[in-house]
């Protein structure tokens, strides 16, 4: 059941017509992709994610080693045979002009239709199933260029599904999307794998989303090295943090997201609970305060969160005075002022 659909042995990928005749991007890759799993290829910009995916889909020549798909070497596939195995969704937005959703998704049947692209009843049925799977049935007659970016990307995924591939390969399908679009496309890929048994391999920069969705990561370092594993394992082992390490940015392994390493020098103690506390803490950290629990209330500033039925208030107490704020915007602008004064005084 869970045999690898795709396996690479000592794979070397890169470009052939670069300035040095051969430009190797990554080498010694031993990867496998199991049937029905959802794998996210993640790594910093320029690590070579696209190059790897393009090599796997036959769009770039393989420089060394082997790629095996369904037990057969990639080089032995004709374009058409490969189209039965792998279908793709690429990063760049398409420009097809006036074409209906139905017409575009129907292109997924190209490997199955003849010279004149005559669609059988069964072909149309598969097109409809693909549209259903991505959740855009009812859009059939709408024009591609009138859709939102997110909808358009789903149509491209439907087209790839209509090709009935064994593996779906997507190259940063969320790159041009707004946040809701990203969440929705990522969820869709998750569902295709978990509910429809599709094997999905995608590259992405949306690490938060990927971490919550992927069965496994192919974690690619800037040097082109790839570590495979469940996202959580990669965090626990520290590989994830190491590969994404940057100045001033750190991965918060408790919350599972990246944050700006704002090591505040000012301390403030915070009294309050619930959502208001969480978001107050974030606001305070953003402007460079370190938040202390109320137990160790030895800070020069104390903030109390007060709530009635409707509204939230913030009360700031320093040694001499006490002030009340009705929004975090007011609170933070006051505190910024306070902080600057403090720095001036100490100089």
């Amino acid at each position: 059941m869970n045999h690898p659909l795709l396996r690479t042995t000592d794979l070397e990928v890169g470009h052939l017509n670069g300035k040095p005749a051969k430009k190797v991007v990554a080498s010694g890759l031993n990867l496998d992709l199991l049937e029905g799993e959802f794998v996210c290829l993640v790594g910093p910009n320029g690590a070579g994610k696209s190059t790897l995916l393009r090599s796997m889909t036959g769009l770039l020549p393989v420089l060394g080693g082997e790629i095996e798909i369904s037990g057969k070497k990639l080089a032995q596939f004709t374009r058409k045979e490969l189209a039965y195995q792998i279908s793709v969704v690429l990063t760049s937005p398409i420009e097809v002009g006036a074409m209906s959703v139905k017409e575009l998704v129907a292109m997924g049947r190209f490997p199955f239709t003849g010279l004149f692209d005559r669609m059988s009843e069964k072909d149309w049925q598969i097109v409809h199933q693909a549209l259903q799977m991505v959740g855009i049935e009812g859009f059939e007659e709408r024009l591609i260029h009138k859709l939102s970016d997110g909808e358009r990307q789903k149509v491209m995924i439907a087209r790839a599904l209509a090709q009935e591939p064994r593996i779906l390969v997507l190259d940063e399908p969320t790159a041009y999307l707004d946040l809701p679009g990203r969440v929705s496309v990522m969820n869709l890929m998750r569902e295709l794998s978990s509910e429809h048994g599709k094997t999905v391999l995608t590259s992405t920069h949306d690490l938060d989303l990927a971490m919550r969705s992927a069965d496994r990561f192919w974690l690619m370092s800037a040097g082109g090295e790839i570590i495979q594993g469940a996202p959580e394992d990669l965090v626990l082992s520290g590989d994830f943090q190491r590969i994404f390490a940057r100045d001033k940015v750190s991965f918060d392994s408790q919350n599972g997201h990246f944050s700006v390493a704002n090591k505040g020098e000012e301390f403030v103690s915070l009294h309050g609970e619930g959502d208001a506390r969480v978001w107050t803490e974030r606001a305070l950290q953003r402007i460079g305060f370190q938040v202390l629990d109320q137990i160790e209330a030895d800070a020069p500033l104390r903030i109390d969160i007060e709530e009635d039925e409707k509204d939230v208030f913030w009360v700031v107490n320093d040694k001499s005075s006490s002030q009340r704020f009705v929004s975090l915007a007011d609170l933070t602008s006051y505190l910024r002022l306070f902080k600057n004064q403090d720095t001036l005084n100490s100089d």
């Binding site: 097809v96 190209f110 049925q125 090709q163």
Partner: protein, 360 residues
């Protein structure tokens, strides 16, 4: 696995409204052909034309002669040329993924011009070596010269185009090819006898009227063969709309496809240029008119659409060139450029307003 569900879908068919549009265009073609038969230096009433065409007696002999030996072959030529240029332009725009592409703009017709200039003027320079061969072959020599010229430039553009994936660079490239070939043509003109130069100049103004029935025996089948190639390409052209990468992963043989497009488009544009001269703007404008009228970029519809619209536009351009009611006939290139240039400008401005290149 996928569940089988009952959702039935209607097979994709040409919708009723589109069929109606085709009928309307065909009717329009009949109208402009009728007007073109009737108007000219001599006005011939439509009734007499119908009489003549249906083989009835009682038509003035001189009129019958004009219709048969002048206007009918001219209209047939215009229809063929309009179809060929439009079909060629459509293929170029899809292949280069550029809404402004057409054989003329990419310098392919300049290649044809150079071929023809060499055939007309180069022959004398080479000491009359080719003249007998050209004369013996009749129109074939010119077709060959123009097609070879067009094919060479297009091959060069494709070769470089493989490295430069930027449409703007390609257009500049085409422009530069155009300049280079016109420099060579100027050189030929400089060293040639005035009557040869005049022959070349007349050719370069463009005309549908110089083509005889005999030459049409050659013109027609050549265009038909090139259109025959195009007949097999709608699927591939639709695939190219998504870009070459997508086309490849859908199992299309993109290299072969590109070669077939090159073949069809260069034969179409090269042949028209050989017989009628370098006729501009029809090739770039008609595909856009077709996309606008039919609201589609599906080549299964666009190909028959550009064929019909191309014929209508070319016959209409010829009609206008005669300045109905006067004795003057303007070169066809003057008409296509006068009406075509603002149209192309309009396409560019429309794009600037944020519409994607092929959108209507």
């Amino acid at each position: 696995m996928m569940q089988q569900d009952q959702l039935k879908s209607k097979p994709q068919a040409i919708k009723g409204s589109r069929l109606w549009l085709f009928a309307l265009l065909f009717f329009l073609l009949l109208v402009v052909v009728g007007l073109n038969l009737s108007y000219g230096s001599v006005k011939i009433p439509l009734g007499d034309i119908l009489k003549m065409l249906t083989g009835q007696e009682g038509v003035k002999e001189s009129w019958a002669y004009i219709i048969q030996n002048y206007r009918l072959p001219k209209i047939a030529t215009a229809i063929l040329a309009g179809i060929a240029l439009s079909a060629s332009g459509l293929q170029m725009q899809t292949m280069f993924r550029n809404p402004l592409a057409d054989p003329f703009i990419l310098g392919i017709n300049s290649g044809a011009s150079l071929g023809v200039a060499l055939a007309i003027m180069g022959a004398s320079l080479a000491g009359g070596l080719f003249v007998p061969a050209l004369n013996a072959a009749g129109g074939l020599g010119l077709i060959l010269a123009a097609s070879i010229g067009a094919g060479l430039v297009m091959g060069l553009i494709l070769l470089v185009g493989k490295r430069v994936n930027n449409p703007t660079s390609l257009l500049i490239l085409g422009l530069m090819f155009g300049h280079a070939t016109s420099a060579l043509v100027s050189l030929l003109i400089y060293f040639s006898a005035p009557e040869k130069v005049k022959a070349y100049n007349i050719w370069s103004y463009g005309a549908f009227s110089g083509v005889t029935w005999e030459q049409l025996h050659l013109f027609f089948p050549v265009i038909l063969v090139a259109l025959g190639i195009l007949f097999f390409l709608p699927k591939g052209l639709n695939g190219l709309l998504l870009g070459e990468d997508y086309a490849k992963t859908m199992g299309l043989n993109v290299d072969r496809l590109r070669l077939l497009i090159l073949l069809s488009a260069s034969i179409l544009s090269g042949t028209v240029t050989a017989f009628c001269g370098p006729i501009g703007f029809i090739g770039v404008a008609v595909p856009h008119i077709a996309r606008n009228i039919f609201k589609t970029s599906n080549h299964k519809l666009l190909i028959p659409a550009v064929i019909l619209i191309g014929a209508v536009v070319a016959v209409t351009a010829d009609l206008i060139a005669q300045l109905p009611g006067s004795q003057f006939v303007l070169p066809i290139n003057v008409i296509t450029s006068l009406f075509g240039a603002p149209f192309v400008l309009w396409i560019v401005l429309k794009r600037k307003r944020g519409a994607a290149s092929f959108n209507v």
